[in-house]
Each structure stands twice: as structure tokens, then as C-alpha cells.
């Protein structure tokens, strides 16, 4: 019998597979494909204080081994999420969900986290200081250790649930930022968010994305994500949720060996709606082939 369970700051997950924020909505769209209770958990769409439409379209581009998105945090706002999405989610998802929170000021982060903290369906709060698709702040919080620490402190002051800070890969020194968050009281680190990328429609001589640049993710970014997970997991004592390019159960195992305590699946859900389910189902077989009995044993197992 293989044991796929993992633990994140006291939150026990049946398996480490967690669809990533922005690729799984509030869970609803995947119900038609499968029973999402098979998942470890999932991280809901980045939510802000006010409702947002996000950026102008087109806001999606093809990249061969990945995609660019410049959605820009379209979401109904924290109150609508609490009022409508969470009650609906409760009808078909029995597990604690991960609440992904974004903001444009330290106060907004704190406001949203305080509100979501009172929702018992929420098992963990993921604070996104790394979205490249918003103008006022957004990413800047995630590219500077002090700003990331400030957000962390503000959020920790108003929540009782474990707080993971989700970091941007578009930085010179990911370890410095992760350490700053850890020192400011973060319970865990989630990385990576998207790489800043761009494509041009050469027939029309203009960027594919209306906003010019956007967030690059998907299979292509896996080696960068794996490297950052490895660096941060070694440098910090708090758990790391790995994310970026994960497509298969073997990718999940590789991320965990690099140091991830749980692993998020993002863009893969969009192109294969069964991606996360197939990963969950393939894990025991891969574990057997690799002689892994307890999945949590391999977390950071490489020297």
C-alpha cells in the first residue's frame, strides 16, 4: 500500500496534488469532468477586495510548450466569493480549499485575508504577491524582500490560518525574498507564479497580448520552477508548495524530491481538464515503480 498523504502546517491532504490558482476557477467548471474530491485541495482564483474585469483581450497567447496569460485577476471580489462561490463549492467539495488572495496595497491584502479567515471551508491562505498582470503594485510586492515581508506581517496579524506567500520567479534572488517572508512569519512559501513573457503576431506586427506582456507558464517553465523550489526549500525551514509546469505524476515526484511538500498544477488543467485527476491516479503506480512507500518521505530527499 502506497501512502500519498502529505501535511502542510497541520493541514492534512490525501495527496499533494493541488490545482493552481487561476486555472481552476472556484472549482465549478471541473465538476462536469470529474469529482474534484479526488484532489489534495485546490487554490481558488486570485481574489481581490473589489470585483475586477482584469485586462483587455486578447489576454491569452500560445507558446509551443506553454502559454501566456494576462487575465489580470478577473474575479467577483472577496464578498461575492464568500457570499456565492464558497456556499456553492460546499455543495460539491468536502475538503478545505486554499484561498488565493491578491491586492494592490498592504491594507487590501489584510482586508481580504481577515474576511476569508472566518470561512471554515478555507484550510490555508495563499497570498499572491507576484501577479505580473496588474499595474499598481501587484508584482512589486513580490520582487522586493521588504515589501513581501510587509505584506506577510500585515496578513499574519489578521489571520489564524496558515499563510503561504506565493512568490514571483522574475527576481534575481528568490532566496532573499523567501527568507524575508519566513522571518516575517509566513507559514509556507508557494512558488513559482508566472515568468514575464511576450509573443508577437508577426503577420499583424503587434503583440498577441493586448497588454503587450503577460505571465508565461506551462510545461516549458518546469526546470526554472524546480530550481527555485530546490533553492528555497533548502534555505527555509517552512514548507514549500511547488508550482510551475507540472504535467505528470513524475513531475510531482521530481518537485517533491526538490523539496516541495505539495505540488500545484496550473496551465495543464486548461489544456487537459483531466490533468490533475490523471496525476492523482498515476501517483501510486509511479511510487511503486520507484520504490516509494510514503510520498512524504521523498520531500527534499536529494542531497
Amino acid at each position: 500500500m502506497t501512502d500519498t498523504s502529505v501535511e502542510l502546517c497541520g493541514l492534512k491532504l490525501d495527496n499533494p496534488v493541488v490545482p493552481a490558482s487561476g486555472t481552476f476557477g472556484y472549482g465549478n467548471e471541473f465538476r462536469e469532468f470529474y469529482d474534484i474530491n479526488i484532489l489534495g485541495s485546490f487554490s481558488f482564483k486570485g481574489t481581490t477586495r473589489e470585483a475586477r474585469f482584469g485586462n483587455p483581450t486578447p489576454r491569452i497567447a500560445e507558446c509551443g510548450a506553454g502559454m501566456i496569460n494576462a487575465v489580470g485577476l478577473q474575479n467577483p471580489g472577496i464578498d461575492a466569493v464568500i457570499r456565492e462561490e464558497l456556499p456553492r463549492l460546499k455543495t460539491f467539495f468536502r475538503k478545505p480549499v486554499i484561498a488565493n488572495i491578491s491586492g494592490f496595497s498592504v491594507e487590501e491584502y489584510a482586508y481580504c485575508c481577515e474576511r476569508i479567515d472566518r470561512q471554515e471551508q478555507v484550510g490555508l491562505i495563499e497570498v499572491n504577491v507576484s501577479c505580473p498582470n496588474v499595474r499598481h503594485g501587484g508584482m512589486s510586492f513580490g520582487t522586493c524582500p521588504d515589501a513581501a515581508a510587509e505584506v506577510t506581517r500585515a496578513v499574519k496579524a489578521v489571520t489564524t490560518k496558515p499563510v503561504f506567500i506565493k512568490l514571483s520567479p522574475n527576481v534575481t534572488d528568490i532566496v532573499a525574498i523567501a527568507r524575508a517572508c519566513e522571518e516575517a512569519g509566513a507559514d509556507g512559501i508557494c512558488l513559482i507564479n508566472t515568468l514575464l513573457g511576450m509573443r508577437i503576431d508577426i503577420a499583424r506586427r503587434r503583440p498577441v497580448i493586448a497588454n503587450t506582456m503577460g505571465g508565461f507558464s506551462g510545461a516549458a517553465v518546469f526546470p526554472v520552477a524546480l530550481r527555485m523550489v530546490y533553492q528555497v526549500a533548502r534555505a527555509c525551514r517552512i514548507p514549500v508548495m511547488g508550482c510551475g509546469g507540472v504535467t505528470t505524476a513524475r513531475d510531482v515526484i521530481e518537485m517533491m524530491m526538490a523539496g516541495a511538500s505539495a505540488v500545484q498544477v496550473g496551465a495543464a488543467n486548461l489544456v487537459n481538464p483531466y490533468a490533475s485527476k490523471e496525476i492523482v491516479e498515476a501517483l501510486p503506480g509511479e511510487m511503486e515503480r520507484l520504490g516509494i512507500e510514503k510520498l512524504s518521505d521523498i520531500i527534499g530527499c536529494i542531497e
Binding site: E29, T57, P58, Q74, N269, L270, V271
Partner: protein
């Protein structure tokens, strides 16, 4: 309801220089309305490619696609017997639940295909169907005879006047003095906009947007309407005339 499935190519043949028709065998039970689309996974492309359903029956789907880039080029090289991974039943599609008596169908270029199954449905509901098909030039015209064979009244317009009425679909509508009380349209944005401005009648218009998922999960394809934000892939691609914000 939408589902993922593997479909076997039955036929794949060019209709014009750049436009191909492909028929596929497989489960069609999730398709519920004309104007819905499928989302096709292609080797070497990360994102799926959305293509409208031109026609379908219990066992097969017909698609008409224009070769505009790597993905559609790849489709054109596929042979009968090969398989494709499709999401089907995507989008709202056209609704015929309205009391229009004399509907007009207006299609431009590869906006024509989804109107074909719609025409079938309207005819089956006992309504006379008029169709205006707009193209750039005579060599690009396709499906004129197919609509006629269904029993539709068909007008063709070409921008360069090399076939049918010279000009846009709106020219054809005006010149023929077409009598209709409702319209259904699919085509390039400028055509939809011109039509919207040119006619008084109510109608439904089908839009395109670059898509991440095609089933409502990524928020990649949103647009603003008078009734709030809508996802082209889920609450669209068909919007009603009254809700559109240009």
C-alpha cells in the same frame, strides 16, 4: 454539458485554397445547440484550437476550418483514420427559442460554418430560412450550394464583386431588400459591427476570442456586456444584440 473524447477522422478535404472540411466520428451526445464549438488538442501546440461545429448527427461532427497558422495547417495534413482529442459541447450556441418567423442567417468567411446546423434546425422548426454569405472573392466562396440544398434562400456577397453582390453582407441585405424579423450572425468583428449598426431587427451574434481553456476555467476570453462580464467560451460565443457593448 461538455466532455473530452477521442475522435476518428472520417474525411478531411479542401473546400477552397485555404478552407478545409473535416468530419469526425465519435460521441456527440454533449452537443446541445448549433453554434457550439469544439476545442482541439494538436501535437506540438500547447493550447487547444477552438473550431465551431458546422454540423453533427448521432455519430459524427463536421468542422470547417481555415488554415491561418501552425495549428490549422497541421489539421490540414491529417489523414482519415488518424485521431484527435476534442472537448465537445462547448459554449452556449444559438437559441431558436424566440418568436421570430422569418430568420436571416448572416455569415462571413469561416463564420459561415456554424450557421449550417442552425439553418437545419430552423427549417426543422418549420421556419423559412434566408442566408447571406459574405466572402472576399469568388474563389473563397464555400457552402453556397449546401445551404441551398437544405432549402434556404441564399445570397452571396463578395468584397471584390467577383461573385453575387459586390460589397459586404450589409450591401447584400440592403440591395436584395431582404425581409426578416430576426437575425443570427457569425463572422469577423467588423462584419458583426457593421451588421449591428445596419439593421434594426433583434438578433444573436457569435464572437471569437483567444482562449486558454474553452470551458470557463481561466477567464482568458471574457468580455463586458450590458448584463455583466461574460466568458465567450461559456456564456458565449453567442451574445444577444441587446447586451453587446462594442
Amino acid at each position: 454539458m461538455y466532455k473530452k473524447g477521442i475522435y476518428k477522422i472520417l474525411t478531411n478535404e479542401p473546400l477552397t485554397d485555404a478552407v478545409w472540411r473535416m468530419t469526425l466520428a465519435g460521441d456527440t451526445q454533449w452537443i446541445s445547440a448549433p453554434g457550439q464549438f469544439v476545442n482541439i488538442a494538436l501535437e506540438g501546440k500547447y493550447l487547444r484550437r477552438p473550431i465551431s461545429i458546422c454540423d453533427y448527427d448521432d455519430r459524427s461532427i463536421a468542422l470547417i476550418y481555415k488554415v491561418v497558422g501552425g495549428g490549422t495547417e497541421q489539421m490540414s495534413r491529417m489523414l482519415p483514420g488518424e485521431t484527435l482529442d476534442l472537448l465537445t459541447g462547448l459554449g452556449n450556441g444559438f437559441s431558436t427559442k424566440n418568436d421570430a418567423r422569418r430568420p436571416l442567417l448572416v455569415g462571413g468567411g469561416v463564420g459561415v460554418p456554424p450557421l449550417y446546423n442552425l439553418a437545419k434546425k430552423l427549417l426543422a422548426e418549420g421556419k423559412p430560412v434566408q442566408v447571406v454569405l459574405g466572402f472576399n472573392t469568388a474563389s473563397e466562396v464555400f457552402y453556397e450550394e449546401e445551404f441551398r440544398a437544405l432549402g434556404c434562400e441564399v445570397a452571396v456577397s463578395t468584397v471584390d464583386g467577383s461573385r453575387g453582390v459586390g460589397g459586404f453582407v450589409t450591401t447584400a441585405i440592403a440591395e436584395r431588400g431582404l425581409d426578416f424579423d430576426y437575425f443570427y450572425a457569425c463572422g469577423p468583428l467588423p462584419m458583426l459591427h457593421a451588421l449591428y449598426n445596419a439593421v434594426e431587427q433583434d438578433g444573436q451574434l457569435s464572437f471569437e476570442e483567444r482562449m486558454g481553456c474553452g470551458f470557463g476555467a481561466c477567464m482568458g476570453c471574457s468580455c463586458k456586456t450590458k448584463y455583466g462580464y461574460k466568458r465567450i467560451c461559456k456564456e458565449g460565443p453567442v451574445l444577444t444584440k441587446d447586451e453587446i457593448i462594442w
